[in-house]
Every structure is written in structure tokens, then in C-alpha cells.
Symmetry: D2
Subunit: 106 residues, 4 copies
């Protein structure tokens, strides 16, 4: 994913509409949660979802996540790789293999 | 963001733990929503959030979003750019400038 | 459910901790969403949930819903019955029987 | 709130539409989360919400919560009062007064 071109597009989209004023971190966090829920709605009554709908809602989640990352000037690639590293410690292979249990129940 | 290296890391992390069996699209959609809510919890009582906490929860949202994208073999860059394009039509500059109203109330 | 005794208990609980200051409608709405997500977490990886956990998270959702209702002085019984009535119109029996489709797709 | 009359109404509404088949506990938990998010959407960009909208979304959250309670034959009044009791221990007045901190940070 060429994040830079997406960020450029996104920045222009927001600026043209003068929407930066609404994009406080708190409002963006609410928005991520709201869009994540619209994504969940694709699976409300079962596992079969309309892929086109999933795609659109997933894009919305990404968009607000990218905007929130920008607010804190996060290097998202770094942040995500660090979290995967952290999760490796939290869920050691030998303890968590084949189990969906939370780390505090392993 | 070099998505490819993240996907490689993520794929190995999941495979080593044999967690693919839990990652149905529906379960991933639930997980995105759950993590988005943990992110929201950083702002539960106000706008000041612990940046380190925000960073970690945001990473979790991204991770599950990437895994869901993989399930459907989505080209996320394309999907996101398409959605921005779609939103441009939905929210024309002249109608939506400086307003946080939903498209059906513009 | 004797709502009045619950409201009395809840009111005293909040007052003793001087938590009313945090309970703006917006914060309560976030809290409902956060607790609903903790409830969802009981089903994150499958349909079998720990009933005791479900019970506790469900109670938390109710508690914040009751507090939000209080903020707006809503007569919840009335509000809920009205909504059921509204849903009856939105989902006529002949159109919606045995289908989980949303009203705009019936 | 006369819960019994609401439950009776709700039971008839569901039965007439033959919707019981969709109301697994897991689907109801997803639905609670989805509706809680629609409620949150009333506050997406700020603290001023349309009360009528809030009322309707709040009713939807209650309705799915009541249906989930029914699935497990919970005595909701009891469950909620027990949770308040539990929270009293978790948040002792002397430690939590005037603070919005989580119990593990008090």
C-alpha cells in the first residue's frame, strides 16, 4: 500500500471541505468505532456478507485510522510492527498455539 | 507504510500460532469493532488520551483490518482510493464545506 | 424489573462518588458503546460465551443506558413501547416474516 | 418500567415475524453493539444530539438487551443490582470520589 499517495488524497479531501475542525482525536476515535460497527453490520445475522459492502466499510475504518494516526504524527508502519512484536511476547507460541484464549487465561 | 513487510510479519505471527482457524471474516469484523472500542475507551471521559495507549489500540485495529482485507484478497490501496473518490461525489465541496452534516441532510 | 429501585441505587452510587460531572450524555453514549463491545468480546471467537461474563457486561450496558435515559428525563417504558410500535410499521409481518433483511431491502 | 408488558409486546413482535431463528445470543450481542454505535453516532461530531434520535437508538439498545436477557433467562433486576453492588467494591468511595480513573489505576 502506497500510504503516501493515500495520505495526500485524504489531506486534500479534508482540506477542500474544511473538515479539519471536526477531526479532533476524540471525534476520530468515535468515527472509527462507528465505522467498525457498520462493518460488523455486514455480519449481523450471519457469516455471509456482501463483499462490496464489506470493502466500503473497511475502507472507512482505514480512512479514519489514517486520519487519527496523522493527528499524532505516528509512523504507522513502525507502530504496527512494534505491536506485532509486543503480541509475540504476550502470546508465546508454545502457550497460545491453536488456542483463542486471551493472554491472561493462557 | 510498507504494507508488504507488515503482511509478511503478520502472516508468520498467525501461522506460528495456528490462529488462522479463528480468523473467519465474521470473527475479524467483531475483532475490529472490539479493538475500535478499546481505542474509544482512551477518550471515554474526555479528550485527553494517553498517546501510548492510543497508539497500541490503533495498531490493533489496523492489524485486524489488514487480516480481514487479506481474507477477501483486497487491494487495500485501491479500495481506499476508490472510497475517497466515492466520498467526493457523496459530499460535494460546495454543499459540505465547513459542515459536519451527513450526506442525506446536506 | 422494578426500575425505580434500580434508579435509586444507581443515583446513590453515582452521587457518593461525585461522578455526575463525568456523565455527560456524550460520555454516557461512548460508555454504552464501550460496554456493548465488552459484551461482544464474550463472543469474539465463537458462539459459546461464559454466561457469568455475559451477565456482568449486559448489566453494564443497562446501567449506562439507564443513566443516559435519566439525563434526558426519558420515560423508558414509553420510549421502548413506542419504538416497538414504530418497528411494527417498518417491518410489516407479510414482508418481513422469516427474513433478516433490513427494511430498505424488503 | 413495567418490564413484563414490554417483554410481552416484544415476544409477540418477534414471534409474528418468525425472527427467533436469527436471535442467537451471538447475533444479539452483535446487534447491541451495532445499535450502541448508532446511538454514539448522534454524538459523532459533538455533544449536541437530536434528542428524538437518541431516544430511538437508546430504545433499540434496550430492546436487544432485553432479548439477550431472555435468551439466558436472566432476572435483569437482580443482575443489575448485583453489578452495582460489585462496582461498589471495585470503586470504593474514598478512592474513587471525583475521579474517572479505572479501578486498576486508583
Amino acid at each position: 500500500m502506497d500510504l503516501e499517495s493515500i495520505k495526500t488524497e485524504l489531506g486534500a479531501f479534508v482540506r477542500e471541505r474544511d473538515w479539519g475542525q471536526f477531526h479532533t482525536p476524540e471525534n476520530l476515535a468515535k468515527s472509527i468505532s462507528i465505522e467498525a460497527s457498520e462493518l460488523l453490520e455486514c455480519y449481523q445475522w450471519g457469516s455471509n456478507a456482501d463483499v462490496n459492502q464489506v470493502q466500503q466499510e473497511l475502507a472507512d475504518v482505514f480512512i479514519y485510522c489514517l486520519l487519527l494516526g496523522e493527528k499524532y504524527n505516528l509512523n504507522l508502519e513502525e507502530v504496527i510492527l512494534e505491536k506485532i512484536e509486543f503480541n509475540k511476547q504476550k502470546y508465546p507460541v508454545e502457550k497460545s498455539r491453536g488456542k483463542s484464549d486471551k493472554y491472561d487465561r493462557l
